[in-house]
């Protein structure tokens, strides 16, 4: 299932590459060389991380996550939602149905909102890649603050909805 955004992205990359090749062969070659280097350096690292997340989700499947989020007190479930969202990476087409099934089973809204927000914004698993690109300080501050922000967003949603 290739999303429309992905198709557009690939299209833009192809068009940009063609224009570049037409205007300046040398620059295009240098660009492609850099792209190749990135693919092997960053790419291999990403493969390792994805393999670990895949294994994590095999040990702790989504239905167990559902169970954890639907139990306990309001505050605790919000915090748990934020934590689980931070350590996992789920594609949107898995995450939203999961959140919906939680909602229907009467899980707390705060947990669902916190889960969805940290899931995308906080990347505990991708922290090594972020650190490599921007350094420890940047990665830790951005992820730490995003975690706090997700809790605030969840709290705000509970007050409004």
């Amino acid at each position: 299932m290739v999303s429309l955004n992905t198709i557009i992205l690939i299209g833009i990359a192809l068009v940009a590459l063609l224009i570049s090749a037409w205007k300046d062969k040398k620059k295009t070659k240098q660009s492609l060389k850099m792209a190749k280097g990135l693919f092997f350096k960053t790419g291999i690292e990403i493969v390792g991380i994805l393999a670990l997340i895949g294994l994590f989700l095999a040990w702790v499947p989504p239905h167990i996550i559902t169970k954890i989020l639907g139990s306990g007190s309001v505050a605790l479930s919000g915090l748990l939602g934020a934590i689980i969202g931070s350590v996992t990476i789920l594609p949107a087409f898995v995450a939203f149905p999961l959140a919906a099934s939680l909602y229907q089973r009467g899980a707390y809204l705060i947990a669902i909102a916190a889960f969805l927000t940290t899931l995308t914004m906080v990347g505990f698993a991708t922290l090594p890649i972020e650190t490599k690109h921007f350094g420890k300080k940047f990665a830790y501050i951005r992820n730490g603050l995003s975690f706090g922000l997700a809790l605030l967003i969840a709290l705000g949603m509970v007050i409004i909805l």
Binding site: I8, T42, G48, L52, A58, W59, T117, F138
Partner: protein, 181 residues
């Protein structure tokens, strides 16, 4: 031998993953296979997005002048810079790790820390197709409320990160200026 240990150290994550899979295979074959299947799905997603992202990063690096990036995303770009950052993040595709190469290139060419944080966060959260899926499953009210909080939240996050993190504290940036200038 030393060479082997060094290259293993460099691929630490891959080694850890391989060991974790081996242990899992010994304990529970079903989980092992399930893990491989999930990883396969992730790899397909990655292969769809990353080559295009890397090619664009390369082209960006050699074609886009520093001045243009500074003007649009630099520290004096103001409200328009923030708006441009949210837009750039939200029209892009792929998971959050796809944002790092291109935002690092932006930063190297003079984008502010604040705007780079906004691009990364918007890249992760603000997506039109995702709003549609969220609306379908959780309702328009839920989706709109969450985005209503998230977009200002991202701007606030960018502002705070910009205040807390100095450009010089980012290693990739320090290496660049010392080696080229």
């Amino acid at each position: 031998m030393k060479h082997l240990i060094n290259s293993l150290k460099k691929q630490r994550l891959l080694v850890i993953a391989a060991l974790a899979y081996l242990v899992t295979a010994a304990i529970n074959r079903e989980v092992f296979i399930q893990g491989l299947f999930t990883t396969k799905d992730y790899l397909i997603e990655m292969l769809e997005v990353m080559p295009a992202v890397f090619v664009l990063t390369g082209l960006f690096n050699f074609w886009i002048p520093k001045e243009a990036v500074m003007k649009t995303f630099g520290s004096s770009s103001g409200f328009r810079g923030r708006l441009a950052s949210v837009l750039l993040g939200s029209v892009s595709a792929g998971p959050i790790y796809a944002a790092f190469p291109i935002t690092q290139a932006l930063l190297k060419k003079g984008a502010s820390v604040e705007n780079v944080v906004i691009v990364i966060s918007a890249w992760a959260v603000v997506k039109v197709p995702m709003i549609l899926v969220e609306t379908k499953f959780l309702g328009l009210r839920f989706a709109l409320t969450r985005y209503g909080f998230t977009v200002p939240g991202i701007l606030l996050l960018g502002w705070v990160c910009g205040k807390l993190i100095d450009r010089k504290e980012i290693p990739a940036l320090a290496a660049e200026t010392s080696s080229r200038e």
